[in-house]
């Protein structure tokens, strides 16, 4: 199968209200957070982007909205790649979870939630994964100091384990 052209992806993105650009050879779609789920469903069903490769975020503290949530998709059918970016604000950093479409979304969204405090609506399991219960703050935010110390976790008795 042939990879969809940039124009084809652009048409799909435009239909969902997103803008498309080419950055160093990769197609990058930017769109608002409420259309993400609808567009990704189209990308998966129509354009065969069947592998959710990565979910992360970028923090721009001086900008409103503050965060980019960045998704990377790959196709095991036509080997194309696409990057999807959506902007969410600091007060309600919420975006729809992709775990209804991709099983891999669960863990990667958990990590993104750990690190940036992005809330993935619909992901019921946002327990800490690389951090631990009781960790205060979101370490990859730019306003989290690198040398910040965390409160000590007290000893627990064994029957609670």
């Amino acid at each position: 199968m042939v990879a969809p052209t940039a124009e084809r992806i652009e048409r799909e993105a435009a239909a969902a209200g997103g803008a498309t650009a080419i950055s160093l050879g990769t197609t990058v779609i930017t769109l608002s957070s409420d259309s993400v789920l609808a567009l990704v469903r189209r990308l998966k069903a129509e354009l065969e982007f069947d592998l959710l490769v990565d979910v992360t975020a970028v923090d721009w503290p001086q900008r409103t909205p503050r965060f980019d949530v960045v998704y990377h998709f790959y196709s095991t059918k036509h080997f194309g790649r696409v990057r999807l970016k959506t902007l969410v604000g600091e007060t309600s950093p919420v975006v729809d979870s992709l775990n209804s479409l991709y099983g891999s979304a669960g863990f990667m969204e958990r990590e993104c939630h750990d690190m940036y405090g992005i809330v993935f609506r619909g992901n019921a399991d946002l327990r800490p994964i690389l951090l631990y219960e009781g960790f205060v703050g979101h370490p990859l935010r730019k306003d989290y100091p690198k040398l910040a110390e965390q409160p000590l976790v007290p000893y627990r008795t064994t029957e609670r384990l």
Partner: protein, 409 residues
């Protein structure tokens, strides 16, 4: 003194389930410090007798703030740090990271560097697969197989130490090139080691392939289908063991892979035996590729002649002011990487290793994110553990080859 205890505080690990569907289900905790989970990882399993009903995998015990730390160092300074992601094949991490930075800078590496990076990537892949197979065979009791394979791996480590100065953490990649060229006689020794590899891996085939005990423990254990594997984001040998010939070296050739002749071995069933066999066959393909690359390796310079990223020769640094300033700026401020973002993926031994870099135009990265195959695999490994015996957790987990360094970052 009694330690402080506050019953109101949450447990640092909260399992996804508290009680079983049946009253007699037992919840057992395996790890994070367990000799058979080679890697600091915790598996919380709900058992019905010996059968695993549900599994909740927790990682993060080796989390050391890699991505946060990266934002505080120059682009070059990160190279020793990316080595420690997948510490079984540090060179592949180096090269993937360097290629990502080079893409942002628009630097094209020299042909010799390109072929040498390909050769060393394949060499690292052999070391990584040897580690994985040796450890998982040892966990099933095959001590001889372990010793044979680790012996070959040790030849490789010593040989790489001749080239890079370190056995495991090489710090050998450079933006725009490599740290140093091959020492004299290195390729001759490489040919010797590959011959030894064939002898000993041949013995492993003889010991394991038709071994009743080994087959009973691995055949139809930890089965995963292609559709499930893709859904869970699995790449690398796990995806290939299900029968899907997906390999970035073939599908989206980078470095010199487009010019090499090689096969992509696949499995049939997606079980532990297939993962063992796919890794064994991949090592053979790597040997075949290395032999081609030894013939193809061109002469010429190793590093690009670009003062934006490559350090000037030492004798010039000591004799002329421009080179001295150039050296100083590259070390103190870091190479200036144009603003932009890039995602570069390489086929690491465990699957797709991706670097997502964001630059704002300075000498330090604004963001570094690693898409590590092990982390994604840990998100879906419960599919391969549930429904099998408690004892099957060990071989299945071994065949996935979780590497704590890249999983927890």
């Amino acid at each position: 003194m009694t330690p402080p205890f506050d019953a109101g505080l949450p447990n640092p690990v909260r399992p996804a389930f508290e009680r079983g569907v049946r009253d007699d289900a037992v919840i057992v905790n395996i790890g994070p410090s367990h000799p058979a989970t080679h890697g600091t990882i915790q598996v919380i399993a709900m058992l019905d007798g010996e059968k695993v009903q549900r599994v909740d995998v927790h990682c993060g015990y080796l989390h050391r703030g890699f991505e946060k730390e990266c934002e505080d160092h120059t682009w070059h300074n990160l190279i020793p740090y990316v080595d420690r992601l997948n510490y079984c094949s540090g060179l592949i991490n180096d090269f993937a990271y360097c290629e990502a930075v080079e893409t942002l800078m628009g630097v094209e590496i020299t042909p010799r560097c390109r072929y040498l990076r390909t050769l060393l990537s394949e060499y690292s892949r052999i070391a990584d697969h040897l580690t994985c197979i040796a450890a998982s065979l040892m966990e099933l009791g095959a001590m001889t197989a372990f010793l044979y394979m680790v012996m070959i791996r040790d030849y490789i480590y010593e040989h790489l130490a001749d080239l890079t100065g370190a056995r495991v953490t090489y710090s050998y990649g450079r933006i725009g090139g490599l740290a140093r060229d091959l020492p004299e006689g290195w390729l001759a020794r490489l040919a010797e080691i590959l011959d030894k590899y064939e002898v000993f891996v041949g013995r492993i085939h003889g010991l394991m392939d038709r071994n009743r005990i080994f087959i009973d423990r691995t055949r139809n254990v930890g089965v995963i289908s292609t559709a499930d594997a893709i859904d869970r984001g699995f790449t690398g040998p796990i995806l290939r063991s299900t029968g899907a010939p997906r390999d970035l070296r073939k599908d989206a050739p980078y470095l010199a892979y487009g010019e090499l002749d090689f096969d992509v071995p696949v499995g049939i069933n997606g079980d532990n035996y297939d993962r063992y066999y796919v890794r064994m066959r991949e090592m053979d393909e790597s040997v075949y590729m290395i032999r081609q690359l030894m013939e193809m390796l061109p002469a010429g310079s190793l590093n690009v002649d670009d003062r934006h990223c490559t350090l000037p020769p030492k004798e010039l640094v000591y004799t002329e002011i421009e080179s001295l300033i150039n050296h100083f700026k590259l070390i103190m401020d870091g190479p200036v990487v144009p603003a932009g973002e890039v995602y570069t993926a390489h086929e690491a031994p465990n699957g797709e290793l991706g670097f997502y870099l964001v630059s704002t135009g300075g000498g330090m990265p604004y963001k570094v994110h690693v898409r590590s195959p092990s982390f994604v695999h840990m998100g879906g490994v419960n599919r391969m553990l549930e429904g099998y015996q408690l004892a099957d957790i060990i071989p299945t987990f071994g065949s996935v080859n979780m590497i704590g360094g890249e999983c927890d970052r």
